[in-house]
Symmetry: C2
Subunit: 347 residues, 2 copies
């Protein structure tokens, strides 16, 4: 953390800190009746249903402050929760944000974190309505809960995919894992040769994918505009394999996935080869892409095909057919949770 | 933690652990449309407004596992959030529960924690609808978010108290602080003389007040039955002084508080004297009582007086009158956030 000045949190006290961190907090949604500053926030739903989701992010487990700017961390903490809201086919409305931090963190550092939080709130039109601010014995802990709204019954679970449905994914996959690999490599070099300047090889895209991901609100808006509803949906946080297997399990179906249809960013793919990594393995097992993985009825094929940011990558089968990936070479393998396990190759 | 068997979390994996911890999860409320197991839960409000509140509890800061049974900790983690919902004059409906834990915690230990969570859900008729389960580098971290419902506009903030309103509090105050003091004393003795049996002097009440507090749903139900609405309300978590000052500040009022009206449990009061502590100071600065502190119009005096669990302890004044406590001896002191500061005595 580079800081021009350092104000100890203890010099402010808890309530003044909260006032400081929330002084520019804006309310954007009519559904937000009462925001920060009471025992709880109050929300009106105007007949809509609410989705609620929460994530806990722990320093040293989910993020590394050696290479994560606090502003990006604040932004990402919000976005990963909004991504879960979109994955229900809902529109995010409110978040609560709790943090616990050791005395290593100054008021300036926390303000930077909140700048990222407010930037995400602005970009996604979400209100920060509450939270908790406390101390930790070690490190930074972030807990975000997001609430979103959806027309009654219009939410999409993981369990509605049926035989013949098309498996679709937004954007590209594997880039976040490549970004993480690059950051970890440079961290290791830096630790071994103190003072060495990190070399990110101009891989701006993959680094941004891991440090400052975006949630696919455009895809959920597209569904609304085109009046289509996926049969099942989730966001890709654990890797395509693991997440597609969730849909198969909860929908009691099998699947055929085509390796050649998996979308990649071209620069990321080239960089994977440079690192001697298989781009397909990065997509299957990497995770943290925060793209939407969903299934639609075959009748929606023309509609989803209109959207250049959606790729059709396979289809749902009867459960007895198993969960399979067809490689570029035409051989068939079992899809396994930790990605494509070569031990299972039967081709 | 005494355990007959120990199952490593790593032997189960994340998803099996979640299945294990949620296998007996019941849904009690019609408003819970979709619960644990998807990207988010779904809630229907049937025209009600929602209150949302969240708390982050960190081992070593908010709880000490040397003397806190995990079952009680799970129970309390839920209750402190429900208390915030009641403090809005709302009825709790759903919670999300996130935990992060080091490898010190076994599946059995986490199951014990969740037993307490489910016990609280049962007692307060609340549904556990989601959460996050992850690892920490050190210690146990718990984040709970609670959602409650309230008829449109019927919520009670901290800002509605007006001149002449009666200041009321439920139950008794200071006991939780005395319980904590006792537990900390016995911990110190135990650490200094390994093996010494702790002596809780049969102070079951105060120990229960700190380890397994309850939220005052009965008081909120009483308001509904009697058709009265407090003008301001919060729950006593920081101590009577600090919390009453919140109401004064947010309502732009002053107050007169009568020391002799502050409610105590008689055993707790006697034990305070034994520890050479002033019971009034325990009530003013102790905190963690989770009683409801509220103001009502004077016209509601007869109604609140009917309830033996409600004490009228003072009244709201014009802001210029300041925030005062009148002692048993009849002298007047400024009420300060860290309790009754003897330096301010003007008597």
């Amino acid at each position: 953390m580079q800081e021009e000045s350092r104000t100890e949190v203890s010099s402010l006290g808890e309530f003044a800190l909260i006032d400081h961190l929330t002084k520019n907090n804006e309310t954007r949604n009519a559904s937000t009746v009462l925001s920060v500053g009471d025992d709880a926030a109050v929300i009106d739903h105007f007949g809509k249903q609410t989705v609620v989701t929460t994530d806990l992010l722990i320093e040293g487990i989910h993020f590394d402050l050696m290479y994560t700017p606090l502003r990006h961390l604040g932004y990402k903490s919000v976005v990963v929760n909004l991504s879960d809201v979109y994955a229900m086919n809902a529109i995010p409305q409110q978040i609560t944000m709790s943090i616990a931090f050791s005395n290593r963190f100054s008021v300036e550092a926390l303000s930077e974190l909140y700048e990222g939080v407010y930037a995400a709130c602005g970009n996604y039109n979400v209100d920060l309505v509450g939270g908790d601010t406390t101390s930790s014995q070690r490190g930074l802990i972030i807990s975000v809960t997001a609430l979103g709204e959806v027309a009654p019954g219009n939410f999409v679970t993981r369990s509605g995919a049926k035989k013949g449905d098309l498996i679709c994914v937004s954007g590209d996959l594997g880039s976040a894992f490549l970004g993480l690999t690059l950051l970890e490599r440079e961290k290791k070099i830096w630790l071994e040769t103190q003072g060495a300047q990190p070399d990110f090889e101009e891989q701006k895209y993959i680094v941004q994918r891991i440090l400052k991901p975006e949630a696919r609100k455009d895809i959920v808006n597209f569904f609304a505009e085109e009046n289509i509803k996926p049969t099942a949906m989730l966001d890709v946080s654990d890797g395509l394999s693991s997440d597609l297997l969730h849909i198969c399990k909860q929908s009691t179906g099998g699947c055929i996935l085509y390796e050649e249809k998996i979308p990649f960013n071209e620069d990321a793919r080239q960089f994977a080869y440079k690192l001697e990594l298989d781009p397909t393995a990065c997509a299957l097992s990497g995770g943290e892409d925060y793209e939407l993985l969903f299934t639609v009825d075959q009748a929606d094929y023309d509609t989803v095909s209109k959207n250049k940011d959606i790729s059709v990558i396979g289809y749902i089968t009867e459960p007895e057919k198993g969960k399979k990936i067809i490689t570029r070479g035409g051989s068939e393998h079992d899809l396994v949770a930790q990605g494509w396990n070569p031990i299972n190759v039967k081709g």
